[in-house]
């Protein structure tokens, strides 16, 4: 083990030292870790907001703070989790770290641009956080007009911050596309790439194509507030629904920016822990592109009750159901991979199986919501809240956790405590279901989302939901402990602890500064078990 490196004591973590060697590093691995530290912090802040929301909803009436404060906490929870955690999460941390490694490259195509993306992201994030100390916004993360035009809060600041973080997202996507096209190791065709790379590639296409539209939408919102140009303001002859069209033209594809890389991680985990070639490689690869393509023509399903035309509603409803096709292709291929594999249940695999379970629920309720008539009933209820948390948390966060544990030995060259890692899964998985499953029922009973208060009939289910949130929090804090303890005092990890076949496991743990001591040449597929 570890024979790949000529000097096993020199790796990307130890070759250079000092704070400057991090802040000016062009190494994609270090930049990935810098993203990790930042995003973990944002996740903590967004998570605390979530806990506060659940605490407030523990009982009806004012429990913890006022209705206005509740609106602010809700807005920051959404905005932080979407723009600072889930959208950048997998691509910026694990993608940055493993995309070049998995294709046998020494770095991403544009290392300086990669570092610049980190600074742009941090600048945007800090700008967003300044609003916590000026006037806190209360528009919800969607910044819907006309309220976002009228409210006297720091909408301009946070909207510009989202614009700036969007630029970072675009640049990362651009970098990944070129890296995937141009820097694959000799002998690696597009269809020899690991499926995580395929998913990052599909994600990057969405990032590059959709994010500029969000950019101009947010700039127009700023222009609306500063100049009153009137295109979103009904008082001035404008159309507030146009804002929703523009916003969801980005933000629906953004949902797939959040979930596609998670699906890529699941492909890696299922194959590695079944010790079996992935079933239907090309089908999974193309379904990623399929999801990316369909994602651009379904945005109207966020607007079934906005007053858009009925025919538009019917068309969007139909196209939205098409998303289920490539998604189901992935699900069935993962299940087929498990079939007759020698499955083992290490913590990354537990998270992958948890993903399958939760994502199936999230996906099927998504099809329910795509049905026009059902959505009119469920629209803006807790049913929707439960649905997208099953997809975003049950899906993406499960995959992030699985991916973290899977690649942890490669990133830090250490092993973590497996028993505790499995315990984090148990806590998060059970806690998640306890928190969010009652919300499906609450939604079906008619409890509207985003409200600070509710009628007594909803109380018991809300209490269960809040108690579940404590379990999730305990699970994540335990995971943080597992990771920190692993980094500090974990036993040394071998180059390939899981016996996986993709290229990142062929170099030492942690990898040397330029990833591979000798440029790898690829002769077989990524899942030749």
């Amino acid at each position: 083990m570890g024979t790949a490196s000529t000097n096993p004591n020199v790796n990307y973590l130890t070759e250079f030292s000092g704070i400057k060697s991090w802040l000016f590093s062009l190494d994609h691995k270090r930049i990935g870790l810098m993203y990790m530290i930042a995003i973990l912090f944002f996740f903590l802040v967004g998570g605390i907001m979530a806990m506060l929301i659940r605490l407030e909803l523990f009982s009806p009436g004012p429990t913890l703070f006022s209705a206005d404060t509740y609106n602010q906490v809700l807005t920051y929870h959404g905005a932080i989790m979407v723009f600072m955690v889930i959208v950048p999460g997998i691509p910026a941390i694990l993608g940055n770290f493993f995309l070049p490694l998995q294709i046998g490259a020494a770095d991403v195509a544009f290392p300086r641009l990669n570092l610049a993306s980190w600074y742009v992201f941090m600048f945007g994030a800090i700008l967003a956080f300044t609003t916590l100390f000026t006037t806190k916004i209360d528009t919800g993360w969607t910044f819907y007009t006309p309220y976002s035009i009228k409210t006297g809060t720091a909408v301009i600041t946070i909207v510009l911050a989202a614009f700036i973080m969007g630029m970072s997202s675009i640049l990362t996507g651009l970098n990944f596309i070129v890296t995937t096209h141009k820097l694959r190791a000799p002998g690696m065709s597009m269809f020899d790439m690991p499926l995580f790379v395929w998913s990052l590639y599909s994600t990057a296409i969405i990032q590059v194509i959709a994010t500029p539209v969000l950019g101009i939408t947010l700039l127009l919102l700023v222009a609306e507030r500063v100049l009153g140009i009137g295109i979103f303001d009904p008082k001035l002859g404008g159309d507030p629904v146009l804002f929703q069209h523009f916003f969801w033209f980005y933000s629906h594809p953004a949902v797939y920016i959040m979930i596609l890389p998670a699906m890529g991680i699941i492909s890696e985990l299922i194959s590695a822990f079944s010790r079996k070639t992935i079933f239907g490689y090309k089908a999974i690869a193309f379904s990623s592109l399929g999801i990316a393509a369909v994602s651009f023509i379904v945005w109207g399903h966020h607007m079934f009750v906005s007053g858009q035309s009925e025919i538009a509603g019917v068309i969007f409803s139909f196209i939205t159901m098409l998303v289920g096709v490539p998604t189901a292709i992935k699900m069935f291929n993962w299940l087929a991979t498990l079939y007759k594999g020698s499955v083992s249940f290490e913590s990354p695999m537990l998270y992958a199986l948890g993903f399958l379970f939760l994502f199936a629920i999230g996906g099927v309720t998504g099809i329910m919501l795509a049905t026009l008539g059902v959505d009119v009933h469920f629209h803006d209820t807790y049913f929707v809240v439960a649905h997208f948390h099953y997809v975003m948390v049950g899906g993406t966060l499960m995959a992030i956790m699985g991916g973290f544990y899977y690649w942890f030995p490669k990133m830090f060259g250490k092993m973590y405590n497996e028993g505790l890692a499995r315990l984090t899964f148990v806590l998060i998985f059970i806690g998640f279901n306890v928190t969010f499953f009652p919300q499906f029922i609450l939604g079906a009973m008619g409890m509207p989302r985003r409200y600070f208060d509710y009628i007594p009939a909803y109380e018991s289910l809300n209490k269960i939901s809040t108690i579940g949130s404590w379990m999730i929090a305990a699970g994540f804090f335990l995971a943080l402990y597992v990771i920190i303890r692993g980094i500090i005092s974990g036993p040394k990890a071998p180059a390939n602890p899981w016996g996986a076949k993709t290229l990142e496991w062929q170099t030492s743990s942690p990898p040397p500064h330029f990833n591979f001591d000798k440029k790898p040449t690829v002769t077989g597929g990524p899942y030749d078990y």
Partner: protein
């Protein structure tokens, strides 16, 4: 830490196989960036199209206030600047740095002329009260359309964002001119010149769409 390809022209960064490999990758990156630029302006064009459909008379009234002669002159200026930009690339590619330098300077001058004309256009709009959005008072300018401010809001946003791109282009072209003078570029290495060239052509192209939509379509 890593080798800097800009300092040593014919070398390439460590993670590429060859200078040609790096060149192709850089060029793909530039084109992808252009995709994002076009999509960003795309949002404005969609807004234009929608409200032009809803308020054709208001748009006609707004377009009448613009000087198509100045707009047309600026269109010619930008097309000429695209030619000099292309020549700047061409002469760098055939090792004629001096000619390349002067063509880049000509591009800068033309871009400057564009901005000066734009300044006079903006100034006259400001003087006569054709301000964007809520700052336009329909009574003082004698407008029949109550929401004429929307037209000028779109006009200033679209031409303003385009003007910002012209300014960024000028900064980049100045940098190219400096590096051309220093002798950084030759037949083997001219990626930055070509990259900025592509950017500049796209900026021109966007104006070629802005001009008829804002000045001519009534």
């Amino acid at each position: 830490m890593t080798t800097n390809h800009s300092a040593t022209a014919h070398h390439h960064s460590h993670h590429f196989d060859s200078a040609q490999h790096e060149y192709e990758s850089d060029k793909e990156g530039i084109w992808l960036f252009m995709v994002t630029e076009i999509l960003m302006f795309g949002g404005l064009f969609v807004a234009y199209a929608i409200f032009h459909q809803i308020y054709p008379e208001m748009f006609a009234e707004g377009a009448k206030q613009l000087s198509w002669k100045m707009g047309f002159f600026n269109t010619l200026v930008l097309i000429a600047s695209s030619l000099t930009m292309a020549l700047g690339i061409y002469y760098n590619q055939i090792n004629k740095s001096n000619k390349a330098f002067w063509n880049l300077i000509a591009t800068l001058v033309l871009a400057g002329i564009f901005l000066v004309v734009k300044y006079f256009e903006y100034a006259s709009k400001f003087e006569t009260g054709f301000l964007p959005g809520k700052f336009l008072n329909p009574e003082t300018v004698g407008a029949t359309s109550q929401n004429l401010g929307m037209y000028f809001g779109l006009y200033f946003c679209m031409t303003g964002l385009h003007g910002l791109h012209v300014v960024i282009g000028m900064i980049l072209i100045s940098w190219l001119a400096y590096r051309t003078k220093r002798g950084d570029f030759n037949a083997n290495y001219y990626t930055p010149v070509e990259g900025v060239g592509i950017f500049w052509h796209i900026v021109d192209l966007i104006w070629i769409f802005l001009f008829p939509l804002l000045y001519l379509v009534g």
